[in-house]
Symmetry: C2
Subunit: 353 residues, 2 copies
DNA sequence: TTGTAGGCGTTATCAC
DNA sequence: GTGATAACGCCTACAA
C-alpha cells in the first residue's frame, strides 16, 4: 500500500492524497472524504522512511544512559518516554555502561540514525575531563543535546538539573543542628552531580565550624546493586575506630546499607544514629524505619526537559540551564528536623496510586 | 554530505562508493582506499533514512513494556537493549501502562514506524481475553512478535519464558515439607505468568493434601511501589484472624512487605515465619535477613530471545516457544530447604561485580 | 572492476 | 482545488 495505490482507488493525484493525510493545503470536502474513505478501507499507513528521507526527521529522540536498570535512571527514562510520546516523539534507548569508549560509540550510532535530538540522562555520561566530554560537544554541533541532572556548557547544549548542592547542604546542616556532631558523607560517584553533593556536605560542615580535616567522607566503589558490600564497607570503617553518629548518603542504596549496618550492631535509629538518603526511590520504603530522603522531583525535571526540547525543536528560545530545588522528605531515620517547605512532595508510595 | 559528494571527491561513481561502504561487490584495493580516505576526511555518514527507504528496514526493534521503571521490567529492557545492540539493532522503547487502549496505540505506532520486529516484555501486555490479545496477533501478521515471559500462540509469534509454574510449585512444596503448614500465596497479577505461579502454588498444596478450600491466597491490587500498603494488606488479613506461618510471594516487593509485616509484630524469621520472593531483584538484599527468592534467569531469557529473533530475521527456523527452569535461591527467610541444583545462580549482589 | 539509471514513498513547488 | 514533477540519498541490477 503506497500513496499511489490510494490515489488510484480514489481517482485523484498523489498530491491530493498527501494533502488530505497531512491536512496541508486546500482540499474540497468531497474529495477529502473520498480519500479518507479509501485510506480507511485499505488500512494505509504512510511510509515513515520515505517521509523521513524527505523531511529529514523521523521524530525520534535518542536517550543515552549508563544503565537503564538503575533505580533512578530507570525512572527518568520512563518519565522521558512518556513525555516525549505525548509530544509525538519516539525514543531510541541506549545503555552505554560506564566506559568512555562505549559512550562515544553509542553517540555516533545515534547521530548516524539521525535522531532529532538526544538526551543524556544522569551526569555519569559527562566526562570528568574536557577530553572525555568532547563527544558531547561534537554531537551538539549536529543536533540539540539535552542533559538531565548533568552540566556542561556550550552551544546547542541544554541542562535541566536539581540543586544537589543545596539539598545536601541543607540535609547536613539540619542533621548537625539536630545534634549529630559526627556526620559521615557516604557516596559512590564523582560525576558532576556527585561533586555537587559532596561540596554541599563540605560547605555545610564548614559553616558549622567543622574543619575540612575533621570532616568524614567515605567513597564506595563497588557495584551499585550490592547492598551487603556497601554495608561491609561501613562496618570496616567502624571497626577501624572511626566514630560517626549520622550518615548523609548520595543515594538511597547507600543509605539503606547504612540502616542495615546500624541495626546489625544494635544502634537505635534515629536516637543514636541518623540516616538521610537521596532520590526518594522505592528503597526508601524498604527499611524499618523508612528513610528520610531527598526528593529531586525527577518527574518535574523530565517534564521541563521535554518542554525545553520542544521549544528548541520549534525554534523558540530556550533556557540553556535550569536548576530546580530539591525537597527533604522526612522519614523515620532522622530526629525531628526543621520545617519542610509547603507543597512538598509525597513519598513515592503515597503518590504512586 | 551525500554519497554524491564522496563520489566526486574520490573521482568514482556513487555505485563504487556504495560498494566500498557496504563491502559488497568487487572493488580494487586502490579505489577502495581512495574512497575510504575521502569518507574519513569528510566525516561522511550514510543517510539511514534513504537506506531504510530502499531496504525497508532501519534495524530497529520495538520494545513494549507496561512500565520500564518496574524493577523486573527495567532489567529485562536493559538486557535486551544490550543484546540487540551487539547484533546491530537499536531499540525503540514504549511504555504503555496497563490500559488496553494505550497498548494498542503504541503497537500501531511501532508498526507505522516500520520496526523490524517487536518484543513484548512481561505478560501484562498479553490480554486476559482473546479480544484483548488480538492486537498482538494482528501485529504478528506484519512483523515477528517476540514475547518475553508471556505466552500467546500463533503464526509469527515467539515466546521465551521461565517455568513459573514449576518454580512456584517447588517453592511451596519445599516450604510445606520444611514444616510450614499454613502457607499463604500473596500475589498481584493475573497475567499469564501470574496465573502460572498461582497454579503452581495450588497444585503443590493439593499434592500435599491441602484441599483447594483450605488453601490461602491473597490478592493485592494497589500500587507496585507502595510497600507499606502491601504490608497493611497482610496486617489486615492477620487481624481478621487468618493464620499463616509462611508466604510465597509473586514478586520480591510483596515478599519484602511480608518480612516487614512479620518483624513489626515480632515474629521470628525463619523459625516462626518463612518468606519466599520472586525475581532475585535488588529488593531481596534490602531486608534482614535477606530474602529467599526465585531467580528466573532473566539475562538468559533475554539472550535466548535475541538469538531467536536474529534467527527469525535471518530466515532460519526458530522455536516458537522456549521454556527455561527457574532456580530457588536460598536466603535467610526460609529454614533449610532441599538441595539446590548445581550451577545455580549467585545472588544479584555477588554476580553484579 | 566500474558506471548508468531506475526505484524506494513522501513532500513540496510549481503550474493550471 | 488539483495535478505533474522534482527533490530526498541510497542500493542494485544491468551494461560496459
Amino acid at each position: 500500500m503506497t500513496i499511489y495505490d490510494i490515489s488510484k482507488k480514489a481517482g485523484v493525484s498523489i498530491a491530493t492524497v498527501s494533502r488530505v493525510i497531512n491536512g496541508s493545503g486546500k482540499v474540497s470536502e468531497k474529495t477529502r472524504k473520498k480519500v479518507l474513505a479509501v485510506v480507511e478501507e485499505s488500512g494505509y499507513t504512510p511510509n515513515l522512511f520515505a517521509r523521513g528521507l524527505g523531511l529529514n526527521t523521523m521524530h525520534i529522540i535518542g536517550i543515552l544512559c549508563v544503565d537503564s536498570s538503575d533505580l533512578f535512571l530507570a525512572k527518568a527514562v520512563y518519565y522521558l518516554e512518556q513525555k516525549l510520546y505525548e509530544n509525538g516523539y519516539g525514543c531510541l534507548l541506549c545503555c552505554t555502561g560506564y566506559q568512555q569508549e562505549n559512550k562515544e560509540k553509542y553517540m555516533k550510532l545515534l547521530l548516524s540514525k539521525r535522531v532529532d535530538a538526544c538526551i543524556l540522562v544522569g551526569s555519569s555520561l559527562v566526562g570528568q575531563t574536557l577530553e572525555d566530554s568532547r563527544y558531547i560537544q561534537d554531537a551538539a554541533k549536529e543536533i540539540p543535546v539535552m542533559l538531565l541532572n548533568a552540566y556542561l556548557n556550550g552551544p546547542n547544549l541544554y541542562c535541566v538539573l536539581a540543586d544537589d548542592y543545596q539539598a545536601t547542604y541543607a540535609a547536613a546542616d539540619q542533621l548537625y543542628r539536630a545534634g549529630k556532631r559526627n556526620l559521615l558523607y557516604y557516596y559512590d560517584s564523582n560525576s558532576y552531580s556527585g561533586k555537587e553533593k559532596l561540596r554541599g556536605f563540605q560547605d555545610a560542615m564548614k559553616a558549622n565550624g567543622v574543619d575540612k580535616k575533621e570532616q568524614k567522607t567515605l567513597y564506595y566503589s563497588g557495584s551499585r546493586e550490592d547492598i551487603p558490600s556497601m554495608k561491609a564497607k561501613l562496618a570496616g570503617l567502624h571497626q577501624s575506630g572511626v566514630a560517626f553518629d549520622g550518615i548523609i548518603a548520595s543515594d538511597d542504596n547507600l543509605a539503606l546499607s547504612a540502616v542495615k549496618f546500624a541495626q546489625s550492631i544494635g544502634w537505635k535509629i534515629p536516637e543514636e544514629f541518623a540516616v538521610i538518603g537521596y532520590n526518594n526511590s522505592l528503597l526508601a520504603q524498604c527499611c524499618e524505619p523508612e528513610l528520610t530522603t531527598i526528593d529531586n522531583h525527577l518527574e518535574t525535571l523530565c517534564s521541563q526537559l521535554t518542554a525545553t526540547l520542544m521549544d528548541v525543536q520549534g525554534g523558540k528560545p530556550a533556557a540553556s540551564r535550569m536548576v530546580f530545588p530539591c525537597t527533604l522528605l522526612p522519614g523515620g531515620t532522622t530526629p525531628a528536623l526543621e520545617r519542610i517547605p509547603e507543597h512538598s512532595p509525597k513519598r513515592k508510595a503515597a503518590s504512586a496510586g
